[in-house]
Amino acid sequence: MSEAPVVLEVRGLTKRFPGVLANDHIDLKLHQGEVLGLLGENGAGKSTLMNMIYGLYSPDEGEILVNGKPVNIKNPNDAIALGIGMVHQHFQLVPVLTVTENIMLGTESVRGPFLDRHKARQRILQISQQYGLDVDPDALVQDLPVGVQQRVEIIKALYRHANILILDEPSAVLTPQETQGLFQVMRTLIDQGVSIIFISHKLKEVLHICDNIAVLRLGKVVGSADPKTATQESLASMMVGREVLLRVEKSPATPGEPVLAVQNLTVQDDRNLIAVNNLTFDVHAGEILGIAGVQGNGQTELVEAITSLRPVVGGKIIVAGKDVTNFTPRKVTETGVSHVPEDRQKHGMVSSFSIRDNMRLQTYYKKPFAKGIVANDKAINQASEQWVAEYDVRTPSIFVSMGSLSGGNQQKAVVAREFTRASKLLIVAQPTRGVDVGSIEFIHKQIVKMRDAGTGVLLVSTELDEILSLSDRIAVMYAGEIIAIIPAADADRERIGLLMAGVREGAVQHE
């Protein structure tokens, strides 16, 4: 469709890992000045493909052509020399170094034996002006918000004269506003002749920004699509290989008694600064209260305080009529609180344990899993088998280690454990982070099912779409405070997005 010359082409690219065919004869073309969207679930082989183009892996078969000429990319230096730049999903920055040092690293300008920071700084300022990438070259990277860190990564590629830019899930860590900013930058880059490969599994964004879309599944290109004609549904079914329901179907909530009452709660973060400031809200049985907000506005501390993983400095937490403030975590659990933590690897599972052992982490000492002081293996195995089947955890057996599962399956296993435990209050934090479309659909359905069964659900998410489609009421957190609680029916992206950025709604509206 495009008349522009092809700047990057891969032909029959294949990569095998022990037991897995990660990339199976992939063909792709990237034209000058276009945004090529690369869609695919986790494990579809997107990252493997990009790592081969960037020289971090070497392909087993096939060839890569840059500007029509076959090239041999053995390491990132070769890729950089060919004008290929990559912004990794997990930023490759050194937090304790300054922006300038991070950008010049590897291609330092020197004067005699010494670094020439001044010269590098000048170039960074010039690039940042040319492409509208605003950044302070002298700031330490660790002090910068993620959106700015991403800008540093992009400048890093441009500093090395990249004209082919690979963006690996760039919007995963951004707020809606920051994502808009990123798209602005991408358009500027395209206008200046840069070509971009945009990797994502957010269908909406891909449709919005890309000129061309390729879909990967199980290491193969299963199709390409024109964003002008494709729909989210058609792309999703291409990605997953079956029909996917993107909208969550749910009936209106029938809220009952409050199961969680938070009163004037104050919590400190790791640096002893106030992270949750005098918060008051409640969650009723049979409703989903969604907490929206940009990462780092106190949501993590709030959830940790409710589950007693973090001490409460002031205020009260009442679960099902019982004051549980500063209980031990086990006592809170026994009061009837289930918790799917935001960082499942760290707080939701023991990755070296088997699935079976992960299933009884909170209940190993109770009947039926314990018989006196010994474990009841039969009961444990039986329950684990049943849950794995019920919650669609794809695994060869319940005895493999949790760490060997993909992110989506790990999450489904954690969900299985927490959702099957009899509970009055369910706290789910970032339930679909790093989880593929098929699993997202499944987890969302289960959350609604819990609500319909009369459980009060506290949903914490930075994904606006998730909040909007699941919640019955939406609370927006900003700087440790809830700045508004609105019924889901009155909420739209624009309004919540502004609240998330800390723009308080005028008092006029309410009084």
């Binding site: 990132p76 990559m86 490759q92 050194v94 170094l97 690293l105 670094l115």
Partner: protein
């Protein structure tokens, strides 16, 4: 009430201050009110609220040119009273339940000040009623600090690139032994001090070889770096003891050491001249190494890359930096430096080799490095603190202080605990230190 570090240290200082206060109050009769006429002519009184009383601690600063000599006479009882009150005050304030950030900062700074004051206080109390030569005391601190500071620089090169080096001790010992062995071989055929210099070269090289082994095990084979370091420490013990028995004992060499020299002009500066500008070659090389390490780390391309590799090797790799090569080179340079520190023992100080003669200095060097938060100047300050405390040991014995010497030897570690573990905050090691780099 929550038990915090501030809380614990406040109690410690409150107790220490209280004890000191009681001791000092019992002797208030020794305080003589200040009168102008009692001030001796050639004495510089310190922060004296009183004339030199019955009990004074005299710190002497002699000089070749006697007109430049001076003494600090410190009225022991008054000094103790002031310090005791300060300790009690800081401790009490630390216990006041104030939560705001400014109060917390004041508490922390107060406790740090009290922690630092421990050092002069110990010295002054020890010298009560006597006099002690501070110039030789300070000189000894720097001299004894030399192998610690050089060892700490070895650690910085290594660990900044992300490789833990607990093998500094072993590398030093190897350097000490092999340097001396080389010296015994060549000394007969080379006149003057040439043999010693060849010894130093061999010491440096042998430290580097041990480091090569460390790099090979921990970078190439990704062995646990602690284990690899332990292997080298144990191996060095055995290997050097063997060398001593087989070679050194049979050697017929006149055991001399590197000779001392003074830097012209600079060595004439009062106090500093004798402490800093008179010494032996390895002593002087220490200053150079600290400065070089600092410049390397913060102002050169190699330093920037090393810091990046030690913090986030994966990021460095994506920018085309060869992580393994960087670590190899840094570990080996660290080993060469550790070898030099070893030569300090056998060739600059003792003029011989004893089994295990480094006696844990390598580990103290690591402590100094951590004390300085992996920065060259910080580590040098830490090394100096440890050197000072070792000098204090000898001084205590000279002064006949009725405290078991082992307790005195604890002082620097006490100070380290207070300053480091307690108050300055967590020491921040390079993020990737100890982790072998795996290219996913």
């Amino acid at each position: 009430m929550k038990i915090t570090r501030t809380f614990i240290f406040s109690i410690v200082f409150l107790l220490a201050g209280g004890l000191l206060l009681i001791a000092a109050l019992q002797r208030t009769n020794e305080i003589v009110p200040y009168r102008m006429t009692t001030l001796p002519q050639h004495v510089v009184p310190s922060v004296a609220f009183e004339a030199p009383g019955v009990t004074t601690s005299i710190l002497r600063f002699p000089n070749e040119d006697d007109s430049l000599s001076f003494n600090l006479e410190i009225p022991t009882v008054s000094y103790s009273l002031i310090v005791a009150l300060l300790f009690v005050g800081v401790g009490t304030y630390g216990l006041v339940p104030l939560q705001n950030e400014r109060a917390q900062r004041t508490k922390t700074n107060g406790l740090i000040l009290a922690g630092i004051l421990i050092i002069p206080t110990v010295l002054i109390l020890a010298a009560a009623g006597q006099s002690t030569n501070m110039i030789s005391m300070l000189g000894a601190s720097f001299r004894l600090g030399t192998p610690i500071i050089i060892g700490a620089m070895a650690g910085i090169w290594c660990e900044r690139s992300g490789v833990v080096n607990i093998a500094i001790e072993g590398m030093m010992l190897t350097g000490a032994a092999f340097g001396f062995v080389a010296y015994t071989f060549v000394t007969a055929s080379i006149p003057g001090q040439g043999g010693l210099w060849i010894g130093i070269a061999v010491a440096v090289a042998s430290g580097g070889l041990m480091a090569l082994l460390h790099a090979w095990l921990s970078v190439t084979f990704k062995t646990d770096q602690i284990i690899s370091g332990t292997v080298i420490n144990i191996m060095a013990l055995g290997l050097t003891a063997f060398m001593r028995r087989e070679v050194i004992l049979n050697a017929d060499a006149s055991f001399e050491t590197l000779s001392e020299f003074s830097i012209p002009l600079l060595s004439k500066i009062p106090v500093l001249g004798e402490v800093l500008f008179t010494g032996k070659p390895i002593f002087f090389s220490m200053f150079l190494l600290v400065i070089l390490t600092h410049v390397m780390l913060y102002y050169t391309r190699w330093g920037l890359r090393t810091r990046a590799v030690g913090e986030n090797p994966h990021a460095a790799d994506t920018l085309g930096i060869n992580v393994q090569r960087n670590r190899y080179i840094n570990v080996i340079i660290g080993g060469l430096i550790a070898g030099l520190a070893g030569a300090w023992f056998s060739l600059e100080t003792a003029g011989g080799f004893r089994d295990g003669m480094t006696s844990g200095t390598g580990f103290i060097a690591l402590a100094a490095m951590i004390f300085g938060k992996w920065t060259p100047f910080g580590a040098a300050a830490g090394g100096l603190l440890f050197g000072f405390s070792q000098a204090l040991d000898t001084r205590f014995q000279l002064l006949n202080v009725p405290i078991p010497v082992q307790f005195v030897q604890m002082t620097p570690y006490l100070v380290t605990m207070i300053v480091l573990a307690g108050l300055v905050g967590r020491a921040t090691a390079p993020k990737a230190v100890g982790q072998p780099y795996e290219k996913e």
